[in-house]
């Protein structure tokens, strides 16, 4: 029956496309020259993976985390469903080592130290990149140098065709399990006669609302054995509603000087479905968030040789947690956490020679946090980051090096404050183009960096430990990349990297006073040896048919080297697959685009001891789509995309006892004016 339904839906979709064709709508393919799949800036000494807007269209993505799953070396800790938390760990380092920048300015969460990527939608994203090791562009805030890897999210700046003053973009996504996601973007160019010809003033407003019941079915297995019981259940208390709004102001006074200003507000309210506990699936905890920030970017190029930029931000975040059936005297547990960040960054770029660039950046930021917890420390942290970076480029060799200085001053309202930190972190990269062409590059990279303990690590009730030291990492990478185009019809890009990461003073939770009270300690040591292969290929077979292919493979051996006498010594650290990969293929024709994508992972372990009981099974999550954009009289573009996700209805978990969604459907309609 279900198969039959799928067939009907597919036929209906195809026929509607054909019908639309006959309706003599003019169709036009958009931006034909864009490369599908990931792209690696070939000459970089640091591995970079990029997914552009065009690629996002051909991948099954609702949230940003969906797109990141197609990058190699990434592990998304996905708690399942639209409302489940999603954090990103890169190359075996904890998720707190992954920085996230939104339009050039870092997002931060001083409470947990990690960014929940389910908060960011993929609408209006121009490019999404993952940079490992080092910021390629040296003219950026110092904080972008201060994480082991960086996810850079860049949104599309408004572009106005001819003298069109307004752009409208409306999208509606609907899908299984009550998914409703309307999206509206309005862009307006402000043009006044007195403004100089080369100036540009515009504003945009973006509203994205999403809701999902999230009550998807799953199989609950009561054991690892073949004959062990299975029951069919539905996820409950996993509803989510989020609202994401953003206003942007763009003022380009002249080609030398520009100012962008962004105001962002996010609200969410969700149920926490919890782990699927045998015989007890009931949960009623709720989580809600308010997050607002304003950020400003100003850039001025004094001359060909000297440029200056300033970035500033204020961030407010409120998290409210409610357990309405907590067994304390009040009969409930209700916590509110508020954190703020004040951020100011100044950077100067100096290009004494065409081949040699120097930059100096300084970031000052202050975080504080309150919570309605008894005896909460009410901590504050002042950070001063300064980086001196330099890059040299030539026909055969590119070289870059930077030195980051970090000073951290901690204070608390109640109790004892952690000691202040003072660190120097060097990084260097070399790329060689032996043929003197851009096709083939050999790259080498070294980076030393650390992550500060989060406020939860330091202060959360009895768990926190103010004696914590930063968790330190050393990263080494060597790689090759090749990029070539034949006859303008065939494009190939391939790369391979080998890396070795060392983590010491890893921050882990260990029960220190009793079993109910765990605390954070600098305990672990991890050595990670890995390799990654990435491939993109596209071939225009005939004028009306182009095939795009992308694939990635990653091997990681992340061994716990903490204590030779422990049962986990030499074992793979939790939630890190040895083998993982992704592949996507799509066919573009004049009438529609169809595609297939798969994300796959080998075995992982839910705990540090690599026993069969702790093993999580391999999985492959496959999806297909069909879509097209219709261009009506060059004024309106109507688009649709229909997706079938997890087509094999694979029942799998990324986090133990947090099942992922099985087969589901999604339809997206877009209208651009």
């Amino acid at each position: 029956m279900r198969k039959f339904l799928i067939l009907i839906i597919t036929i209906t979709l195809i026929s509607s496309v054909l019908y639309a064709q006959e309706d003599s709508l003019r169709h036009q393919r958009l931006q034909e020259v864009e490369i599908v799949g990931k792209e690696r800036p070939n000459e970089s000494s640091a591995p970079i993976q990029v997914i552009r807007n065009q690629d996002l269209k051909a991948l099954p993505t609702l949230q940003l985390s969906d797109a990141l799953k197609f990058m190699s070396g990434i592990v998304i800790k996905d708690y399942g469903g639209v409302g489940g938390m999603k954090t990103v760990a890169v190359r075996g380092l904890g998720s707190q080592h992954t920085g996230v920048a939104y339009d050039g300015i870092p997002l931060s969460d001083c409470q947990t130290g990690q960014i929940d990527l389910s908060r960011i939608s993929t609408d209006n994203v121009k490019a999404l990149s993952l940079q490992i090791g080092r910021e390629e562009d040296i003219f950026v805030p110092a904080r972008l140098f201060a994480s082991a890897s960086l996810i850079n999210i860049v949104t599309e700046e408004p572009k106005f065709k001819d003298d069109k003053p307004v752009n409208l973009h409306f999208a509606f996504t609907g899908g299984s399990f009550g998914l409703i996601n309307p999206y509206l973007l309005i862009e307006n160019r402000i043009k006044k006669k007195k403004n100089p010809e080369d100036s540009f003033y515009a504003w945009s407003l973006k509203i994205n609302y999403l809701q999902s019941k999230g009550n998807y079915p799953f199989d609950l297995h009561y054991g690892l054995g073949e004959h062990d019981s299975v029951s069919h259940e539905r996820r409950s208390n996993s509803d989510v509603r989020t609202l994401q709004t953003e206003a942007n102001f763009y003022a380009h006074f002249n080609p030398k000087s520009k100012l962008n200003f962004k105001i962002y507000y996010y609200w969410s309210n969700r149920g926490l479905p919890g782990a699927t506990i045998y015989y007890n699936l009931e949960n009623d905890q709720r989580l809600s968030n308010h997050n607002a920030f304003g950020q400003l970017h100003f850039e001025h190029h004094f001359s060909e040789k000297v440029a200056y930029q300033c970035n500033a931000k204020f961030n407010y975040d409120q998290t409210h947690y409610l357990d309405p059936n907590y067994h304390n005297l009040e009969g409930k547990l209700e916590n509110t956490y508020i954190q703020r960040e004040y951020y100011l960054s100044n950077s100067v770029l100096y290009k004494p020679f065409r081949q040699w660039h120097l930059s100096l950046s300084n970031d000052l930021f202050y975080n504080n946090m309150n919570a309605n917890l008894k005896d909460f420390a009410e901590p504050g942290r002042f950070n001063c980051l300064t980086v001196l970076a330099s890059s040299f480029t030539s026909k055969y060799v590119n070289f870059s090096a930077n030195l980051l200085h970090t000073y951290v001053f901690n204070h608390v309202k109640y109790g004892e404050a952690p000691k202040n930190e003072n660190h120097l972190s060097p990084s260097a990269g070399l790329s060689i183009m032996p043929l003197g062409k851009h096709d083939f590059t050999i790259r080498l990279l070294y980076k030393n960096i650390f992550r500060m303990p989060s406020f939860n690590d330091l202060y959360y009730r009895e768990v926190g430990n103010i004696k914590l030291k930063p968790e330190k990492t050393n990263q080494f990478n060597a790689g090759l990349s090749y990029e070539h185009s034949w006859l303008g019809r065939i494009d190939l890009s391939a790369s391979a990297d080998v890396y070795y990461n060392l983590v010491k003073d890893k921050i882990v939770a260990i029960p220190s006073r009793n079993l109910f009270v765990w605390s954070m300690l600098n305990y672990g040591k991890v050595n990670i040896l890995g390799c990654e292969i990435n491939l993109q290929f596209s071939y225009r077979i005939i004028k009306q048919l182009k095939v795009n292919l992308m694939g990635s493979y990653s091997y990681q051996h992340a061994a716990d080297m903490t204590d030779p006498n422990s049962k986990t010594y030499g074992h793979q650290i939790p939630y890190t697959p040895f083998h993982s990969g992704s592949a996507a293929i799509n066919f573009e024709t004049h009438w529609f685009t169809v595609g297939y994508a798969v994300i796959a992972s080998g075995i992982r372990y839910a705990l540090g001891q690599n026993t069969p009981a702790n093993q999580l099974d391999p999985y492959a999550d496959q999806s297909i789509f069909i879509g097209h954009d219709f261009n009506i009289k060059d004024k309106v573009i109507l688009g649709f995309k229909a997706e079938m996700l997890n087509i094999a209805n694979e029942q799998y978990e990324i986090v133990r006892n947090y099942p992922m969604q099985g087969r589901s459907f999604r339809i997206k309609l877009t209208l651009r004016y």
Partner: protein, 350 residues
Amino acid sequence: MKKSLFLLVLLAVSFTACKKKPVTPDNTTIDLNGLYILNEGVWEHNNSSISYYNLDNNTCTADIFTSVNNRGLGDTGNDLQRYGSKLYCVVNTSENVQVMDLYTAKVVGTVPLVGKSPRRICFDGPKAYVSCFDGTVVRIDTASLVVEATVAVGPNPEGVCITNGKLYVANTGGYNAPNYGTTVSVIDLAAFSVVKNISVIENPNRLFLAPNQQDIYLISNGNYYDISPRLQKISTATDEVVRTFDFDITNMAFYGNKAYLYSYNYSTEAYTIQVMDLSSEMIVNEQFISDNTSLNTPYGIAVNPRNGDVYVTDAHNYTVNGDVYCFGQDGKKKFSFEVGVNPSGMVFLN
């Protein structure tokens, strides 16, 4: 879900005729000389398990509950006790009591206690009593396995024991930390109502009926700050604390007229295992282990009533498989074996 569980229970009941099977190499068969070990597992991992160690041939069945019942025990088994020909396991996060045949570990019934967070169990006549973190003690009929009555006690009750028609329950108040509970409630079993609250040191946790069946020993965990964990003796004649012992303690077990106590300090990760004489109430051996055996994290203690061997479990870092060490009365290690994660309770079959 409910239906499938019901089916499982039905199946289990129909298969169980409570007969002792002959000893075969089949690991589903339980020999009479052995012990069950309850492994709590890690919270939210559904990996609580029961191991069985056969003392005749020194073999361990890592997860006998799953291999016999084709389903896992669930999340955070907190108490394992035998009563009559049954084995009872209180599973805290799965919120139920699994009732098994003592000799086969085959489930004969499940008592769901959803929303109550059940902790520990004790018995009297045809009834079982379970303390629940929602501030109650429930009475379960052991024949019908139906919850018959509920009585409200103090906050987050944990340890229970019964003597002379009275049930004693330790109100930890752990969910109100740092304002821990300071009472042990006394329930008259005939009326099934609280008749007295005994004042005790903060955070009362474990209760043990002394071998004389008259005294009750209570371990209060203290507040993990300025109040240390202490052993107290309650007289059931007066229902008062009659003595407080001036040493740190975590857990204890009895054999004859002796108590084997251990204390573990979570901050310093140091432990001691001592022997106390119950008549003189003096520590007669400050260092029970007499060879060079060393544990990481003692997590449970029990004595084999047949020969007085002392079993101590080691939970290591609480996320790896634990070990059980068997010591003779002389404090020398006899053997050890690996079990599941966080082994705590032990039940001997002899």
